[in-house]
Amino acid sequence: MGLCRLLWSVLLMVLVSSSVPVGSDGSPVYDGVTQTEIPRAPHTPRHAHPEGPGGPHTHSRAFPVLTFQFETVRRPFEISLWILLASLLKLGFHVIPHFSSVVPESCVLIVVGLLVGALIKLLGETLPVLDTQLFFLVLLPPIILDAGYFLPIRSFSENMGTILVFAVMGTVWNSFFMGVVLYGVCVVEGSELAGVGLLACLLFSSIASAVDPVAVLAVFEEIHIHELLHILVFGESLLNDAVTVVLYHLFEEFATLGEVTVIDVFLGVLCFFVVALGGILVGTVFGLLAAFTSRFTSHTRVIEPLFVFLYSYMAYLSAEVFHLSGIMALIACGVVMRPYVEANISHKSYTTIKYFLKMWSSVSETLIFIFLGASTVAGPHAWNWTFVIATIILCLVSRVFGVVGLTYILNKFRMVKITGKDQFILAYGGLRGAIAFSLAFLLSSKHFPMKNMFLTAIITVVFFTVFVQGMTIRPLVDLLAVKKKKQTKFTINEEIHTEFLQHVLGGIEAVCGHYGHHHWRDKLDRFNKDYLKRWLIAGARSQEPQLISFYNKLELQQALRVAERGSEARLTPALPSAASLLAASQKRSRTMTKISKEREEEIRKILRGNLQKTRQRLRSYSRHKLVLEGEEDSWTEAKLWRQKVEIGRRMSHYLTVPANRQDSPPMRREKFESDNQVYMSKPSPAVSVPAISVEPVRPTDLAEKPFEGPQRTVEGAMRTGSGKGRKLSVTFALDVEEQKLPRCLSDPGPNKIDEEDEERSREWEEV
């Protein structure tokens, strides 16, 4: 009670001083309560109704117009207050102009946590500690799910071997090296540390040596290093959870048991495999279930996101029941379910899932860091200079040795070598975070009398890594000129050739008779297509090859860009062509009834087809970068709907549209990361800078070409000349004219026309 009142008054002070009006419903009550309902003991409704069950009272008591009853809402109120505080902080952090570029957010949040914790302690209330249950069951899953769902599969699977080696061998090496040396230090030091046994040291070091995904994400998403490094560090931080879980339980068991036999060691190794593979298995099962469920959700689109979240959370919890690796379960679930779910769910559901995940993970992260700060003030501390300093130094040293040693071995097998600079960043980026803290918190003081010392040391390590390493990594990256992330542009050529290459390599392996990497990948793809997709994806979408979806996505973007541009709707005729013919072949039986409806469905289908390939290529899984997703805006859909007639009428200059990636006006850097195009909602002059595109890469020359006589220009531009002999002339104009209506098009997938109408009308209401 006192705590919430305290928090409340703190918030009030903050808010009042910044004169932000907030509906704090408490103040009028405090000031002008007419009744004597002072908040003290738990209220019962009896007080509110003076005419109680005891019969009519003799003394008159006015009917309480305004009462104050806090206890019933206390807990939710506190929680909401904390989350509100966290979000307001986030807001403030980004409002201050240059702050965010110098100090990583995690540092600020920890400092705030420290301040709040200090304030609370000053006022003598009980401090909120980072409750382990809360952390592992509520705060951590959203972050991991967010990371797993948007994991860049291609680069992850390409580097899987390296990541696994770093995660497993690196963590094991760290634990043992640090544990043994720390034990040596304890023995040598003598006096206070004599009671720390080898197993305790090993346990401590296994906690302290795991790279933390939350901290890594928080810091690395702001420094934009190139993809390989990012996925190495990040992948390692995710996958080492299995190792950490095993080592932790192993050493804890051993420490309590007191003696270790060879059998135990062997069982420990076995346990690792069980934990890791079991976690993945659980995740896969739930992922497939989610995919299967999503196949039938065509009539209840509204709860589609719920299935995704629930199944993932269940996977996590189920894994935790058996002490399997919950993190790996969550990642496996997200990875497995994503391609199928995305093919099945509606566009809006996809947006909902994405935004919810980002939102929850963002809030979680903020809360974690704040609580970490607050718990630091709270926790019982036992400071021991030797131990703490030894821990910090050993963390760094063992990490460096581990990275260098493993890289040396790995480079013999890798195609793309890990350079020295990369190794430095890898070593330096091994941040520890809240997971280590929570695990330390979980230790029982009975078996580990030096628990407080461990806690203090871990907190110090976490602070050190987050503050020192987190703050300095960005200037170091710039200083060392580490390769930065390339601005990716998804071109259809790359897509074609990547697929082509994959098949070529598979074929060559078949010729050599060698069952290599590509052979298995081809087999997996085929299995995926023949069986999984048929079961898990609803309707005709299951037949759609990747290339088509990618192409549709491109066309969609062009269409949207054109629609954005307003009056002169120049749409690539490829928009009707591939899409329409695609659907024509899929639904030959459907005859076209109304052009307008068909077109609308076509556009809507393409909007959904948008989902597949790009999402896989989404390389950023950061929190801040989901802004202005114009293409998913229902407003844009409405605009398309309005434009449909014009689109139908105008067949235009095919050439201009794909090249029309204009240079973008200066935008905040955060918007450059995620999905391709960002559309501002204001209509713009036709030619100059219509759409704000994120990838300002292509030469925009063709766009500036005058648009009169487009068809002729197209023909002229593409016809091969006499110099080379009469090849087939690429007359796109011809193609353009061929694309006459009708289009036998309808939504593939489970939507019927009625539902489309329904959806459309609903959407109109929103607009």
């Binding site: 793309v416 074609i496 074929g507 069952y515 290599g516 290339l547 695609l582 095919y654 030469p699 091969t720």
Partner: protein, 225 residues
Amino acid sequence: MGAFHSVPDDHQYRILSEKTGFSLEQTEILHNRFKQLSHNSDVLRRDDLNTIPDLACNPIRSQIVEAFFDRRNFQKDGNGPVQEIGFEEFLIVMSYFRPPSVHMTEEQREELRRAKLRCKNASTILKVLFNMHDTDNDGTITLEEYRHVVEELLSRSGSLGKETAKGIADAAMLEVASMSMGRMGPDEFYAGITFEHFLKILKGIEIETRMHIRFLNMDTTLLCK
């Protein structure tokens, strides 16, 4: 085609191994494979490759097979297809897919690549890919050829057919055109993708780092039929 006796001996292996960069062991393994495919004869024909079952489900099988029989891939200035090849040619084509044996940093690799490509008929793996697309051997990939490529890629997906492929190929050609030609005047035309343009469009995906098959641990006992 060099004279290659059906009973190989070490000396010839060594020559070949030096020429192509495979180790002696790998050469021997590949030779066994060659003999298996060609039913113990000295020459390999298209039919021999076509009958590999694993290759049958590959959508671009014909182009892969053609790559082995394309003189451009194993002779410096060769042109046109042949009907049968010997082990040397087989090995040469395979050698393109071998990972570089030298430990190079990325900068060095880039240098080497640029140096190789400056010479006109540089036989790198990208050239092999290019040759696969350029079926009429004129040095450019025209729209028709590109369409054919896309059709083949999509051929396993059932009834989607030519027109989808055409649309995709058209869009892709446009991308290349816009990327390599820049602003085109009203009278210019885009003849086809030359090798330089091809390289440009593939620069983004760093295809060379992925184009390798590990020949490290091939085992004769695991050879599929």
